[in-house]
């Protein structure tokens, strides 16, 4: 199931978003060896500060199993400001009806092979359907997506072949990246749905997710420490600072727990 998190609802889904950043660290930093900045086990860059929308795939237990990040192409986005190597010196496409999708990934640790619901293949298609249907509903006709050649093959294999490419394949750290174009037409959406046998509404309600995710960790610590942690979270000015504040909170809560273990 798919949950869309943006600046308007991210306060309700802080832990989900935190898991998104952790998944990205594992996938792009460790597995794919991209040149990304990882701090506290979370991959966060400057575009996460621009209020993007995150399309998040959750499994039946509401764990994050996939995600992608969307930005408007008329404003600052990765192809115009970071991935310009791909564009080979040409100006980026800017269109109000085109969004850019970056950091598309699924969790290979949690998902299996094959085509059933808990597979890499199904989740990839479901995430794609989530992006395309969210875009379509918003009046967006096209997605430009920065992907690696492996992802490009995955798209082709799952009846979701890009209709075009922009620029050239460029070196990104140890791997290559390219910009593919995908439309959000009914035809494509039904092809992807048919390939993965996805039926019904893929979107889950915000209330359902909120009712089922882990409540914020119980903080077994002194009032002053708890207050301090809360203040750190409140005064965080960026996603990176917020993630660091959450990590500190968890570390302190963990310390308090292990101390209790020793005492017992």
């Amino acid at each position: 199931m798919i949950l869309v998190i943006d600046a308007l609802n991210k306060d309700r889904f802080g832990t989900v978003l935190d898991d998104v950043f952790k998944l990205r660290a594992r996938v792009f930093g460790e597995r794919m060896g991209w040149d990304v900045n990882i701090q506290n086990g979370r991959e966060i860059d400057e575009f996460d500060e621009l209020d993007p929308a995150y399309v998040v795939s959750l499994d039946d237990s509401y764990n994050v199993i996939g995600c992608a990040r969307l930005l408007q192409t008329v404003g600052p986005h990765m192809l115009s400001d970071v991935f310009y190597d791909i564009l080979d010196g040409e100006p980026p496409l800017r269109s109000v009806t085109m969004w850019e999708s970056t950091r598309f990934c699924v969790d290979h640790n949690r998902l299996g092979r094959g085509k059933d619901k808990n597979s890499v293949s199904y989740t990839t298609s479901e995430l794609m359907v989530g992006i395309l249907e969210y875009a379509r509903e918003s009046g967006i006709s096209d997605i430009i997506t920065v992907i690696d050649p492996i992802m490009d093959r995955v798209l082709k294999r799952s009846d979701n072949t890009p209709y075009g490419y922009v620029g050239k394949t460029a070196d990104m750290g140890k791997v290559k990246a390219l910009a593919a174009l995908i439309d959000s037409t009914e035809e494509r959406i039904s092809r992807v749905r048919a390939f993965a046998e996805i039926q019904g509404d893929v979107f889950v309600s915000e209330d359902e997710v909120e009712a089922n995710i882990q409540p914020p960790i119980h903080l077994d610590m002194s009032d002053s420490l708890r207050e301090y942690c809360f203040e750190q979270l409140e005064s965080a000015n960026s996603e990176r600072e917020r993630a660091a504040a959450r990590a500190l909170q968890q570390a302190i809560a963990g310390m308090a727990q292990s101390r209790r273990g020793i005492n017992a």
Binding site: A7, F47, D51, A53, L71, V74, D81, E137, I140
Partner: protein, 233 residues
């Protein structure tokens, strides 16, 4: 934060409001408005075809300071149906007052993010029932996106806004440092050349980036060059 009614400028009377009427008529909507906050000065420029009585009430009570169709919607990348804003405490504050003027609380706002980091907001509202609104919305959403970016470009190219955008106020030190960056010097080099610490160089660069609404230094250099503030190196 000031609110400027663009319809009060000669250019605005001629163009902006007429276009809103056209959009409403073509797409069967009741009211439309456009607003954008200037990224440099924070001033909100707006125009609307709402009744004058509401317009003066809105400006007099500075409702733009809390209106969630401006504040919250500007942080979304997708059109925001006002239904999504109902939980915002300011929603009822603004729309209770709108109700007294017989104005609908059904509508949506399309945020447009511009290359300068500015955001334009195009809002439309309707007196339709919710189910009919949903149908209309999916039919016209593509046209609304197109109308939104058209309005935004028109306003951003209008003199009032472009003047502040065209000439962001960079200090001579900021310009000097950007010029050295454009010539390929590192922050350390620039510090040595100007006899200031690399950290001071960084602080000036950060400030220049913000003034030029740039994410990266390379982007700031690009904008400074295109604005004629520095030479391409």
């Amino acid at each position: 934060m000031d609110l400027i009614d663009l319809a009060s400028t000669p250019e605005g009377r001629r163009d902006f409001v007429g276009q809103l009427h056209d959009v409403c008529e073509k797409l069967e909507l009741d009211y439309a408005s456009y607003a954008s906050a200037n990224p440099v000065t924070g001033t909100v420029h707006a125009f609307t075809n709402y009744p004058d009585a509401w317009k003066s009430h809105y400006m007099e009570h500075e409702l733009h300071m809390k209106d969630p169709t401006l504040k919250a919607a500007s942080r979304s990348i997708a059109p925001v149906d006002w239904k999504r804003l109902e939980k915002d405490t300011n929603f009822s504050k603004v729309f209770h007052q709108a109700h007294d003027f017989n104005l609908p609380d059904v509508g949506l706002t399309i945020p447009i993010r511009g290359p300068f980091g500015e955001t334009g907001l195009f809002s439309v509202s309707s007196t339709l029932s919710l189910p009919n609104w949903k149908k209309l919305k999916s039919k016209v959403i593509g046209n609304l996106q197109a109308a939104a970016v058209y309005m935004h470009d028109r306003v951003m190219n209008s003199e009032t806004i472009m003047q502040t955008l065209r000439y962001p106020t960079l200090s001579s030190r900021e310009i000097e440092i950007l010029q050295w960056v454009a010539l390929g010097k590192s922050q350390q080099d620039i510090g040595d050349i100007l006899s200031i610490s690399p950290r001071t160089v960084e602080v000036h660069l950060r400030s220049s980036r913000e003034k030029l609404c740039a994410v990266t230094t390379a982007q700031a250099v690009g904008r400074a060059v295109s604005l004629g503030m520095i030479d391409p190196g």
